[in-house]
């Protein structure tokens, strides 16, 4: 299907991918941290990809465009969620193809403002949600980060039960 034929509505079963480029978004244990789903400043949006629409290679290439090794910003891998799991946290994920075809945004519903803290009640909601998203996301460190193709596991969300 041509990209412009894809519906703007994101189905619950679509896979939603976040490019991970910051050392602060992965713990020393190699796990995704809650900081990986912080909104872009002055917005309520978290940039993600519709991987079913553009494919894993494009997800990787777009993520690698974000890196800048001179400032220790190195592409590390991709984190996969489903639209359904995101929506279960009472937030939405919407198509934003104005950036490029395949771009989408998780919408937290409240903006984080530059240099300022949130009200604690809102903060608790955001942190609880981010912690949950980071925990259930399937984070795949890229085994061949230098290449332009994705050679890791399929970018298909799989819910994994955890103890806590």
């Amino acid at each position: 299907m041509d990209l412009d034929q894809w519906p703007t509505t994101i189905n619950d079963d679509e896979n939603i991918v976040r490019g991970i480029c910051s050392p602060f978004h992965v713990s020393k244990k190699g796990e995704l941290t809650r900081r990986a789903y912080d909104p872009t400043p002055n917005t309520d949006e978290v940039s993600v990809f519709r991987s079913d629409m553009i494919g894993a290679d494009i997800c990787k290439q777009k993520s690698k465009e974000l890196e800048n090794p001179t400032v220790k910003k190195v592409y590390r891998g991709l984190a996969v969620l489903s639209a359904k799991k995101i929506r279960e946290e009472e937030i939405d994920v919407v198509d934003s193809r104005g950036h490029f075809y395949g771009h989408a945004d998780i919408k937290h519903g409240f903006k984080v403002m530059a240099g300022e803290t949130l009200k604690p009640e809102i903060l608790l909601a955001l942190e609880t949600r981010n912690k949950k998203l980071a925990k259930i996301a399937n984070y795949h460190p890229d085994p061949f980060s230098a290449s332009s193709t994705w050679d890791g596991p399929p970018l298909i969300f799989e819910h994994i039960e955890t103890d806590s």
């Binding site: 480029c21 909104p39 400043p41 974000l66 400032v71 910003k73 530059a114 803290t117 604690p120």
Partner: protein, 187 residues
């Protein structure tokens, strides 16, 4: 919002009425915590325990890390992350100085946030303590399943020992079953 509950206490020198000195004092949770700690650690002196030695946990390393966060350039996360102001770095360093008054309090997990502020997180079996510091304010919470949520907020430069004492008390200290409402001094 967290209120540092004040507890009216009347020092009463033993049971001897002649030596009784009824001077109302206001005791904060922080002071309750110190008092409880002393009760449980009778052989230990107050001052060696609460001096800002930072020996058990390396606070200097934490400060160095925070100073490194001050060198982050814009878009450090590839998603538009903002650099962190000198003002916030100074607030964060002061925060660590206050934490240092509690040598048994582990270092928090420190992270930059995309909007150019810094978060501090402690997670224990009791719950989670979270503080974030911005240019003008701090905000946070204590998430204690057995007690409910306590919300924390204020002016950034108003963070003090009482706030950290609440975190320490709620996340790292054994709970006493009865709150202290009166302190009796005895010879």
């Amino acid at each position: 919002m967290l209120s540092h509950n004040l507890v009216q206490c009347q020092p009463n020198i033993g049971s001897d009425a002649n030596t009784s000195s009824v001077l109302p004092l206001e005791v904060t949770n922080y002071e309750q915590m110190i008092f409880s700690y002393l009760l449980k650690n009778k052989s230990r002196s107050l001052f060696p325990t609460f001096l800002p030695t930072g020996i058990k946990y390396d606070r200097n390393k934490l400060k160095n890390f925070i100073n490194e966060l001050g060198e982050l350039e814009s878009d450090w996360d590839g998603h538009g992350g903002l650099s962190i102001s000198k003002t916030i770095i100074n607030h964060a360093i002061k925060f660590i100085d206050i934490i240092s008054f509690f040598p048994d309090l582990p270092n928090p997990e420190v992270s930059p946030k995309s909007n150019g502020i810094i978060s501090f997180i402690w997670e224990t079996s009791y719950g989670e303590g979270y503080i974030e510091i911005g240019n003008t304010t701090y905000s946070g919470y204590l998430l204690i399943p057995s007690q409910g949520n306590i919300f924390l907020e204020g002016v950034a430069n108003s963070i003090n020992e009482a706030l950290i004492g609440d975190i320490y008390w709620n996340l790292f200290q054994e709970k006493i079953s009865t709150p202290i409402t009166r302190i009796y001094y005895s010879e």
